[in-house]
């Protein structure tokens, strides 16, 4: 195994992207993701890549559209308000079936909000982010190692399905340092016969476009895209389970909320409460199967989130509302403490004994 180094989550994303073959990065500074851009600015020129600080987030996402059209691995990164600006571009990428990686290191909202960590862009990320019928593959790292690995995975999935993949992190994940091993495999980049690489007078023109004025044609495209999405849902859902086998209470949490929850689970177990954790690693596709199975034996679910309660809706859908799902949350840049999560667990546990 290679030597582990300490890296910030944001730096790990940038380094992993480079190792995944990304040579084009377009961005615009915003706390708490600026280290991604700073790292790219330092390294890209030395390896023949492109780092470009665009005049705005909107410009950056359209540059991504351009490079993606040419069949090259490309990414942009931002934080919540900046991602909203990219919303139009995300929709166009989906409409043109282009692969790209977009990183959202979330901060509190709505509006300009604050700069502290948040998970309140869950709806925006898992439901597409822009207008129209579409999805992105949404990956939720819970460690610096995963920041790196899921970045590579994101590029691979994006290319495989011709979709945008989003890393949905938060300020804590971006700013914290942990040991990371960068010794991971990168699958070869697949052929992209659809890309606009020049016909060399040897083939028909490839056209990248999201405008279809004939409704039947647009409808066909949408149906075809959703067949692809069904395939993604069937094959790509990822999650981690922790002490769920005998659990009466199941916590659902991703990213930093899962890290905090894990502490609370350990403490609750010490006190004899049977509690476990399901941590979705993909938020879209949402890992429905483990929730559905857990609902057969668990008495209650708790969704722990840094938002006013967004993933909780997917937990309710996945468990088909067969057992109660409650929310344990902080918002606006606040993070629930392990003690707060433990209190939520005990409340449910004691309530069940009445």
């Amino acid at each position: 195994m290679s030597e582990k180094v300490l890296m910030k989550g944001n730096e790990a994303i940038a380094e992993a992207a480079i190792r995944a073959g990304c040579r084009h990065y377009f961005g615009y500074p915003i706390t708490p993701q600026t280290e991604v851009a700073a790292y790219m600015a330092k390294v890209m020129p030395k390896i023949g890549g492109t780092f470009l600080q665009a005049e705005s987030e909107i410009a950056a996402i359209n540059m991504v559209y351009g490079v993606a059209s040419c069949g090259l691995r490309v990414m942009t990164s931002s934080s919540s308000p900046g991602i909203s600006l990219k919303g139009e571009g995300l929709s166009y990428l989906a409409g043109a079936d282009l692969p790209a990686l977009v990183v959202n290191v979330q901060r509190g909202g709505p509006g300009l909000g604050g700069i502290q960590p948040s998970q309140s862009d869950y709806f925006q990320a898992t439901r597409g982010g822009g207008h129209g019928d579409y999805h992105m593959i949404v990956l939720a790292p819970a460690s610096v190692q995963e920041m790196a690995e899921l970045t590579v995975r994101g590029f691979e999935l994006a290319d495989k399905y011709r979709m945008t993949a989003m890393i949905l992190a938060d300020g804590t994940m971006g700013q914290m340092m942990e040991p990371v091993s960068l010794d991971f495999n990168v699958a070869p980049v697949p052929e992209k016969p659809w890309a606009t690489t020049g016909t060399k007078m040897a083939r028909e023109h490839n056209i990248i476009n999201s405008l279809y004025l004939k409704p039947d044609e647009l409808e066909r495209g949408n149906f075809a895209r959703y067949e692809k999405y069904a395939e993604v849902e069937a094959n790509e859902a990822r999650y981690e389970e922790y002490l769920t086998d005998d659990a009466d209470i199941i916590i659902a949490a991703f990213g930093i909320a899962a890290r905090v929850s894990r502490n609370a689970v350990n403490e609750a177990r010490k006190q004899g409460i049977k509690v476990g954790l399901i941590r979705p690693i993909t938020l879209w596709p949402f890992p429905k199967a483990p929730f559905k199975m857990a609902a057969d034996h668990a008495k209650a679910f708790i969704s722990v989130e840094l938002s006013m309660g967004q993933m909780i809706e997917d937990v309710k859908l996945a468990t088909e509302c067969r057992v109660p799902v409650t929310l344990c949350n902080r918002a606006g840049g606040m993070i629930p403490s392990p003690a707060e999560v433990l209190a939520a667990i005990k409340k449910i546990s004691e309530g069940g004994n009445d």
Binding site: L6, M176, M177, N266
Partner: protein, 178 residues
């Protein structure tokens, strides 16, 4: 002890984050699980900057230190803010040049090091953090030349390699302080 939770706090510019990084690398080199999390709020501009470091035999759960085993306070606002959060039986290290008052809790151990004055007397006014680190590692029985040098060489970039000995000397001053 399987997990040590550190909270380091001081003015922005006192080298809190750097000192935390040294601790984290020292843990990493010793084969431990570690996490390092800075505060990155607007308070960094002139106010209190802090940094959570966890060194553990177990995988690190939450990287946020809310009940430190060891508090390093490099200014008065840091001690005022975090003294009450230290775990019972914990240790507080205070820079007594900048903090005139004593620790009020009687269920923790306090060490007072005039680190800022010592740094200034040593003609390295920016290394009060390293003097404190020397003392901390000594108290934790974790101060040895080999591991300190190894960790320093990770946090000091090759470009500034000449600073390694300077930092080491500052740490030695702290370690020798009684």
């Amino acid at each position: 002890m399987s997990t040590k939770q550190f909270l380091l706090s001081g003015f922005g510019g006192q080298g809190i984050l750097f000192a935390g990084k040294l601790l984290a690398y020292k843990g990493l080199n010793a084969g431990k699980n570690v996490s390092w999390l800075p505060s990155y709020g607007p308070e960094m501009r002139g106010g209190t900057a802090s940094c959570s470091v966890i060194i553990s035999d177990e995988p690190v759960g939450s990287p946020i230190v809310s009940e430190p085993d060891i508090l390093v306070a490099m200014n008065l606002p840091s001690l005022d803010r975090f003294e009450s959060s230290v775990a019972p039986g914990g240790i507080i290290f205070a820079d007594s040049t900048l903090i005139e008052r004593k620790v009020e809790r009687d269920d923790v151990t306090a060490y007072y090091v005039p680190a800022t004055k010592m740094a200034s007397d040593n003609n390295t006014p920016t290394l009060a953090n390293m003097i404190l680190m020397g003392k901390i590692l000594k108290v934790l029985d974790d101060f040895d030349d080999e591991s300190v040098t190894a960790a320093l060489s990770k946090v000091i970039s090759a470009k500034h390699a000449d600073m390694l000995e300077v930092n080491k000397h500052a740490m030695q001053l702290g370690a020798d302080f009684e």
